[in-house]
Amino acid sequence: MADAIADAASEHLRLDRVPTVFGSAHGETAVMAELLDQMLEQGGSMSPISFASSVHNAASGYLSIATGNRGFTTSIAAGHDTVASCLIEAFGLIYGADGEAGETGVTDCLVVVGDQEEPARLVPEDGQNPLLAAAIHVRRSGTESALASITLPTLPELSTAAPFEPRDNFSDHTCVGALRLIDAIVNRRAGVLRLDGGHGSGWATELRLQEHR
């Protein structure tokens, strides 16, 4: 996740101030597996640091601590709808009437999504995700330096989402929507994008490219 955040960082991103929305379908499963082993192997004594790092919002908390960010942060899970849910939360933060920043209002938000391989002992091999993390810096519309604009994710019956066509090896991944969005932005492909790999509810967003970049 740290690499993804670094990649998303631009001259406009203040990590000590930007509200953050973290998303992960399964959270810190590797730490959980370690704790379960400790529980059974060492007579039940557990590493307090590992325990504190096993919460779903560990990444969100550590980023806040590392950057001194005392603002809004959250950590969301919604299976294959995790990416769409994070973007919906980001829209709420940026455009919800009150906004966390009060008078000034929230103007941007860092969305970070990631899932690691589920513990092999719990999930059959063919059902496992590879490690994948992505970060997207979302700003209020009208921002001149934006690479692209997206619409609020909508449900299939409300959108005209194009049929999903797999283009990579991540189509089963819970975070594939973020990868697809970044791929479309980088490779300059506008259009309606499904935010899951075909296993979620079908939330979709329309991507429009900003011409000046």
Binding site: N57, S60, I65, G68, F72, G92, G96, R121, L155
Partner: protein
Amino acid sequence: MGQHQTAVLAALSSGTSMLSGSPDALPFATFCGEVRTPLEALPPHLARYDTRIARFLSHLLLALEADLARTRERWRSSRIGIFLGTSTAGIRNTEMAWRHLRATGRRPDDYSFTTQHAFDAILVVAREMSGFAGPAFVASTACTSGAKVLGSAKRLIELGVIDAAIVGGVDTLCELTLRGFHALGALSAGPCRPFAADRDGISIGEGGALMLVERTGEPRARLLAVGESSDAHHISAPHPDGIGAQSAMASALHQAGVAATDIGHVNAHGTGTALNDQAEARAIRAVLGSAVPVVSTKGFCGHMLGAAGAMEAVLAMLSLEHGWVPKSIGADPLDSELGINVVQARSTITARYALSNSLAFGGNNTSVLLGAP
């Protein structure tokens, strides 16, 4: 505390703690708020999702059904969201599976990570049982989870994405959290005693609470604001001055345009650890002064972790509705150095506003501002 509001109110009114010895065999003493009543199985078509946490949720949804039916009539299903807080999700089942695995080398045949462990399993249950098809997600920010979702629902209603939402939190007791908090030195050997001079830690509880948040309707309370902030200090300990808690409370007041002097009581996070109660008391003093009545309801049901924020928002709402604040159980002898007005006996309130605080691992803080309708 009870399966329905009548029982919960009776417990609050009489000041009866529901905490008792831990149900799990542990190598240390602790007290828990365990749900002891039998829980009904999920409907047959949801049998794959039938876990203890899903049963808590199912129980709450069925209890809310009359209100959900009215909501179904009022709004399109695609415009009704589901936002749930949990910290444990279905890890209780994974613990059992892990034991089986280590003993036999095989996953139990009836274990499924996807339908039992995963955070979104409870979303499937809520969607299926309610028929609501709007945005649905879990917020899992440890002990603020159940309050974070109130903020999400409020913003998305204001944004116009949804008109209503089921919002709340559910969590179950499990060995991993009991042992984890013990490892942190945060668990009391007896019933937790928030704000007491000799407090020595938390008691973990389980259960849940759900609320129906609507754009318009027949409100029992108004969700006026949710202040959200970070300490940026430590992964598992609060900032000693409660600076994140201060800014969460101040933000809630600012968003709603409510004066600090208008707050009639605070349902505090009040876990009963030396550090939390001291930091939170400093924050309350800084933002609201030392006179505002403060109660921790964790002496009744324990710290419900991912469900605590929802549970305590509901308890704050019940106080507004009924005009009294319950006794903060266990606070005698009071830690006078805290300098706050801890409610020592059931007290009448007349003010129309209340704050419900939740503070979490990661330095995550929320303060929910509720108003009488």
